[in-house]
Amino acid sequence: MLQADHDAPAQPTDATILAASVADPQAFTALFERHFARIHRWLHRRVGAPLAEDLAAETFTRAFDRRDRFDGAYADARPWLFGIASHLVHDHQRAELRRLRALARVRRWEPGGDDLTAGAVARVDAAAAGPAVAAALAGLRAEERDVLLLVAWADLEYEEVARATGVPIGTVRSRLHRARTHLRAALDLPEGTA
């Protein structure tokens, strides 16, 4: 962020990069370098390869076209970028559902996952529950799936999910609640507090 104390070097915020990129389009590449991997990983989990690569690239070309529409009051562009990516997934919802239904039929599912924060036990549980999770995700309404996966895989806060999806924060909470309830029931887990 450009700060009042300009003696202390600081990284420019996403908002500053986007503002600069309006007059200097090359500045936009800094935003790409900062966020591409994260967006690509999220899309890869949602729709698999090779669609993920295509949608991740498209997310950034669309963001470039709309760079003068970013509200500079927000420093962090992640919710905005995830919002564009979510919108693109909607356009390919059939492909997403086809893949989830195919995954729901997979019999041999090894523990894996690139989210080490989930913990080893969770990854083993996730492997055991793999097909059921895929089936449960396929059974969610698209808006509920968006909210759930923005929270679980993109690590966005509720307020950030609200910005990404363009709905009030209360709607985010209720969609997340429904999605978690659905997932819990599908996995035969006891009632929680979600």
């Binding site: 200097d24 690239a57 690139d114 969770a122 549980d125 999770v133």
Partner: protein, 345 residues
Amino acid sequence: MTDELQILRGWAPPEAGPDEGAAADRARARLAQHMTAAPRRAHPRWWLLAAPPALIAAAAVAVALVLSLGSGVQEGRIAPAPATAAQALEQAARSAERQPVGEVFPRPGQFFYTSTRATYLNCLIRAGGGACALSTQHRQAWVSATRRGQSRTTVLGHRWPSPRERQKWVRLGSPRLATMPAGTFALAPDHGAYLGNERLSSTQLRRFDQTGPALYRRLRDGVKHGQGTSRSGEVFTEIGDALREQPAPPKLRAALYRALKLVPGVRYLGRVRDPLGRPALAVARTEGGTRRELLFDPATAAMLAEREVVVGPDARRGFDAPEGTVIADAVYEQRGVVDRIGQTP
């Protein structure tokens, strides 16, 4: 006990993981190609440029702009004089409807020409920080839906909004200020235009047939959470976007002016002269401590000029400018339909 969110976080399909390096390389190349081919907006939406908090640390200096509000211009073509924003905008809508479509909206093979002089906040980013200047440029553009177009840009100069911004620039090593590239450039065929967040094709634009209230609802409902400082402010901005340098057929232009009538907070400023001395009607909307003014020709409904003026404090703005400071302005010298590059209306 593992809960469902933890299980979901650990969920990994039995597929090959993403090849991130190769994917990033291909996406980077695609973006670079897109950035080269993308038609450039003629000038930025400067009020969004001004929005990032703490972007500008000190006061902006006043920018000279000749605009004599309420100067009692004799304008024989206008009668009766509007008394409200709604009347002024309705007058513009009717003028727009009377315009022959061929004068304002190009056929396939023709070009939409614009000539603009604009001053905007131009921020420079380096690893050690940034600095902001006010940059002025002149641009001519010929854009066609079916043919390669051309832009000719001249950078007219830079000013510093404050001594402190200049100091920041010096500390960064006095780097060259980036601008939209000066010179002559080919433009890819541009098949459409923005209407809010929607991208409409030339055919959709030509067939546009909505009323002002319907268009207002369409724009208002299309505003995404987080866009603009308010939903009404964003609609005001989007209407300006559609009027300034994009081709729009008479029905769309009339609907845009009628939609503007419905945006809360739009006020009539009166008859004025624009910086080129052309008689104009002015409307404005104030939000976040600045007033955005739109000037249009009452006879043709062409947007002639616009500017943004500081009228009060706003914590979010991130800089301190005295009331009356003009932080951005643009004059649309000419626009219209022509048959070839180099030709002007």
